[in-house]
Amino acid sequence: MNLATTSLRQLAQALQKRQISSRELAQAYLERIVRLDSGIGAFITTDPERTLAQADAADARIASGTAGPLTGIPIAHKDIFCTQGWLTTCGSKMLSNFVSPYDAHVIEQFEAAGALILGKTNMDEFAMGSSNETSFYGTVKNPWDPTRIPGGSSGGSAAAVAARLAPAATATDTGGSIRQPAALCGISGIKPTYGLVSRYGMIAFASSLDQGGVLAPSAEDLGLVLNAMVGFDERDSTSIERPAEDYTELLEQPLKGLRIGLPREFFSGGISADVERAIEAALQEYERLGATRVEISLPNTALSVPVYYVLAPAEASSNLSRFDGVRYGWRAPQYEDLGDMYERSRAQGFGAEVKRRILTGTYVLSRGYYDAYYLQAQRVRRLIVDDFRSAFAQCDVIMGPSTPTVAFGLGEKTSDPVQMYLSDIFTISVNLAGLPGLSIPAGFGEGGLPVGLQLIGDYFSEARLLNVAHRYQQATDWHARVPALASV
């Protein structure tokens, strides 16, 4: 079985027909990781013994006739999800010794589905970054060109799926951390509506924005994985209780009459010519599938970046105050007193970008600045949400580029945080509004690097978004292309 060309759905069918065992499948992926990941750096931890033990349990479940659609499928998890008995680092030195004593809800969901844990993937430290260069565990390289970044913060998960080191991977998205690396690595990625995936055991960055999701080659595979991942969890106070949904049930629905909203602000400057060409070709494909274009406006798009860089650091500075060197995580080896222990443990345990965000958050929340920055950002957040509400009165789905350019070079933006932040201009507003967003491969740009098309839907329209993506993927084969290094 050629893992570079076999989809998750096909793997699931092969397992159910007993053409391959879960153990054989896990071994094949583990072998690919050993052979190919040294040049990519997508994984922080693998534990073949544990994975194979899970595979044997899955094989027994398949034999007993009680298997579900994901039973026996190996899935890689972003190292932000607490996984009992596994090192869970969140990309940080702070948690370099943290073997989680409990499972995230997401991990429990996959365990119940009979999926295997293939390993824990690399990421920007505490999910703060757009290039996977802030990880304590080394930069991840883009499988399409190892001199380029894979995107971030879920860079390890995206690179693993792009190189077909895993059939799917979990990820999280606070300002674009699923859609941006999906776009830059030439795969599909979905950030569901805020509240659909439990944040319990998902290490917190900015709690009003953080949302778990999935990376996989195709929209169809995203739907299969999302079915297992979504679920109400009373341990997350923002978890949404609603009837279970089959995210694959609308996949085949025709697109005739679909109104695609194109925000003027997504196409007016700031987008490179190669990305614009690929997006235009994708839109023409959608017209052939029966969709029509509607020009819309999201007038506050440019403000989404400054709003985000007030609210996300503010929430992060509060969330990350728990790392104090007392109950878990890094403690400085030498200190004078309790205050000094806190200050040295945090100075040593956190990297530069995390410190910048904590200090920014501390600033905007401090007395005298709270109204001018924090409350003002929350007011503009409401304007941004209102813009989307007006837009969805005119269209069914919003489309545009996921990123302004194809993957940039390693080290190209590390010296200027603000330049790095601006690379998330098209994805951030979706988190501020809590809407579902998807990125799918839409051809190639400069240097033969992938371009991502972003699809934004109204609240809880995941099944429809996946349908819109799937029909495009039946008409094109961009999602099936694999980088040269992965085709062996």
Partner: protein
Amino acid sequence: MALTENDLRRLARLARIRIEDGEAGPLLAQLSGILGLIDQLQAVDTEGVEPLSHALDLQQRLRQDEITETDRREQFQAVAPQVEAGLYLVPKVIE
């Protein structure tokens, strides 16, 4: 408003992050850049707009006042830097 090194030291103290002498200069420059970015918000007219803390209109759920957590102290303390007799150890704070 420009950030001074004194402001930075004060923020670092509030955030409990030690800043070494060589770090202050570059950090000050980077933070000033970030504050320049977020200062764009000052020009936006938000007269009469209510602050939005959360995109979805959620209500806090209530639950029965029952103990649902089990005692997992040993597992949780297994990952702590320093414990003794079930307690987390920190440097002496009261003389």
